[in-house]
């Protein structure tokens, strides 16, 4: 009985192994080969990455950016998910659908729309000028700020979903019990709701932070001259100079960082999961 159930996990695992792991192994082999085509194993791609300050600098910039995006997403998503799970009644499904609908548009098109919206002389600028909030130009496009806005926009809805699902599981009678024991709404939140929704928060952080590390579209387009991040470097390697080996090496460094941060996070998640 139990054995049979275990078999249910296999199809997914097989699909992943065949269509992700095996191909990646081939890619991993590439990362240990020299760009110059000579066969044989080499670490030059990795040493190149770690010895050039430019890549380390970009890595650092990428991490800081991704952290900023994650934190801002959390600040936007948690209250929204909380209100949906605990305050809205019939409304919450409408809100949920409204949150998902924008994903039916293309990512590039959305990013270009931000470009139109944020540019000096664009919609936002004209609006703020006419209201009298600012004079002259806004100057927000082509800064890290614009990149963060674009990325938060692209990823926060996923976080809303994971947190919402976790909060839905927190039984209302627990909130009542806390309240009857004299806890204010705020304390109830921090001592009961938040810890119990922690698994969802952890997943949400992963679902935002991790893809952020590898993005290149938003930084390139919205970041202007400062939009270079590790994702765009990888993209350049593959699209501009045929540097697959080095590109693969960078990708695997990124992947290692992801694994490390995920391990750390899921450890936190597990602590709260252990009810």
């Amino acid at each position: 009985m139990k054995k049979k159930k275990k078999l249910l996990t296999f199809p997914s695992i097989i699909v992943l192994t065949v269509f992700a792991i095996l191909p990646l192994i081939i890619m991993l082999v590439y990362s240990f080969q020299s760009d110059s085509g000579s066969s044989g194993v080499t670490l030059e791609n990795y040493t190149n990455f770690f010895l050039k300050s430019v890549y380390l600098k970009l890595t650092y910039r990428t991490i800081i950016n991704s952290l900023a995006v994650t934190i801002i997403s959390l600040i936007i998503s948690y209250p929204l998910a909380y209100f949906m799970a605990k305050k809205f009644k019939g409304l919450k499904n409408i809100v949920m659908i409204l949150i998902l609908i924008p994903f039916f548009t293309n990512q590039l098109v959305r990013v270009y729309s931000w470009l139109i919206f944020l540019q000096d002389g664009g919609v936002l600028n004209s609006f703020l000028q006419s209201v009298g909030l600012i004079e002259g130009s806004l100057g927000i496009l082509f800064t890290q700020g614009a990149v963060v806005i674009g990325l938060v926009h692209a990823f926060f809805p996923y976080m809303v979903i994971t947190i919402y699902l976790a909060l839905e599981r927190v039984d209302n009678s627990l909130l009542e019990a806390s309240s009857s024991l004299g806890a204010s709404k705020v304390r109830t939140f921090f001592q009961v709701v938040l810890p119990l929704s922690m698994p969802g928060v952890v997943t949400g952080i992963m679902i935002v932070f991790v893809p952020c590390l590898g993005t290149f579209v938003e930084p390139r387009i919205l970041g202007g001259v400062n939009g270079t991040v590790i994702g765009t470097v990888i993209e350049d390697q593959f699209f501009e100079i045929y540097g697959w080996n080095f590109g693969a090496a960078i990708a695997f460094v990124l992947f290692a960082m992801v694994i490390i941060s995920m391990t750390g996070l899921s450890r936190i998640g597990r602590r709260y999961d252990n009810e």
Binding site: S173, E176, S179, E275
Partner: protein, 326 residues
């Protein structure tokens, strides 16, 4: 530690009026049991007092102050939920300490109090466990401890002992009674167990379909039930018709049975059914086609009445309970 007054308290869910113009006044420091059939509105009543449901009509006063607009966390009420509602991410200790932590006591005070309350409910050896690792009864005790720990001015217990076995239950009742007498906290106690209600409470409130059928001391409610519903809901009762058309009830234990004809016998019949339940044996006697229930305490082991035997029934005039017409 508060005098509680409910005035015209009413709650509707959609079309259903589940609590209907309830008026009660409970003196300071008394224990009131609420009895009533499943679904009659007991939990809803408690939830309104606790502040989790807003009444549709009526007021709630704690010592003359209307609390309808006071949020639940300011009412200083200890509540035990029918579903326990223990915090799943906290240990037993932490659950019990939770309410105290809200009150900004020192760590030592909290620890001491927690220890004391956990001892009271006999949960010391489980204090480091999480609720999921406890049996139903153990969880219930934690819920009780958590409510008691904060020394509330009003304690609301929603079937808080129902998952305990008799022995532990009697112990907990005694503890509860002791705690309540010491702390003089006014208590509402919802229970399905009439014996528990009668043993424990100063007053009993019998509810039915959202209204209060009768309120009084256990003696009053048991010996002088106002109507058929109360008479049959609280304890068992045999109903008879007098010659003048009014109806009255007689409790099974008030009926004397004898195998020999006796003076003043009111009915005679045949034993059709005997049920032994330890300290008591019940006899069902068929008299003129009506079943009459009669209970005898088993003061000796030997049984002297047999199934199919003819017996005579007698009761005192003042054991007859007159009932309001319905």
């Amino acid at each position: 530690m508060a005098n509680i007054k409910l005035e015209n308290l009413t709650k509707r869910f959609g079309e259903n009026t589940v609590v209907d113009r309830v008026n009660i006044e409970i003196p300071n420091g008394t224990l009131v049991s609420i009895l009533g059939p499943s679904g009659c509105g007991k939990t809803t009543l408690l939830r309104m007092i606790a502040g989790f449901e807003t009444p549709d009509e009526g007021s709630i006063f704690f010592d003359q102050d209307s609390v309808v607009n006071v949020p639940a966390n300011k009412r200083n009420i200890g509540m035990v939920f029918q579903s326990y509602a223990l915090f799943p991410h906290m240990t037993v200790e932490e659950n019990v300490a939770y309410g105290l932590q809200q009150r900004k006591l020192s760590k030592e005070e909290i620890d001491a109090r927690v220890k004391q309350v956990i001892d009271t409910v006999h949960m010391k050896e489980f204090q480091k466990r999480k609720p999921k690792q406890l049996s139903g009864g153990q969880q219930q005790r934690v819920a009780l401890a958590r409510a008691l720990a904060i020394s509330p001015r009003l304690l609301l217990l929603d079937e808080c002992l129902s998952a305990l076995d008799k022995k532990l239950r009697v112990e907990m009742q005694t503890e509860l009674r002791k705690i309540l007498e010491e702390s003089k906290v006014t208590t509402f106690f919802v229970t399905h167990d009439q014996e528990e209600a009668m043993t424990l409470s100063d007053f009993i409130v019998v509810m039915n379909k959202g209204i209060i059928e009768q309120m009084g001391t256990p003696l009053e409610v048991y010996e002088k039930p106002k109507n058929k519903f109360v008479a049959s809901f609280l304890g068992k009762a045999n109903f008879f018709q007098s010659e003048d058309g009014t109806s009255f009830a007689v409790r099974p234990e008030k009926i004397h049975l004898s195998a020999e004809e006796q003076a003043g016998a009111r009915q005679e019949g045949v034993i059709t059914f005997i049920t032994y339940s330890g300290n008591i044996t019940s006899y069902t006697i068929e008299c003129d086609g009506e079943a009459v229930l009669c209970e005898k305490q088993n003061v000796q082991i030997r049984e002297n009445l047999k199934k199919g035997q003819k017996v005579f029934l007698r009761w005192d005039k003042d054991s007859e309970i007159e009932l309001a017409d319905e």
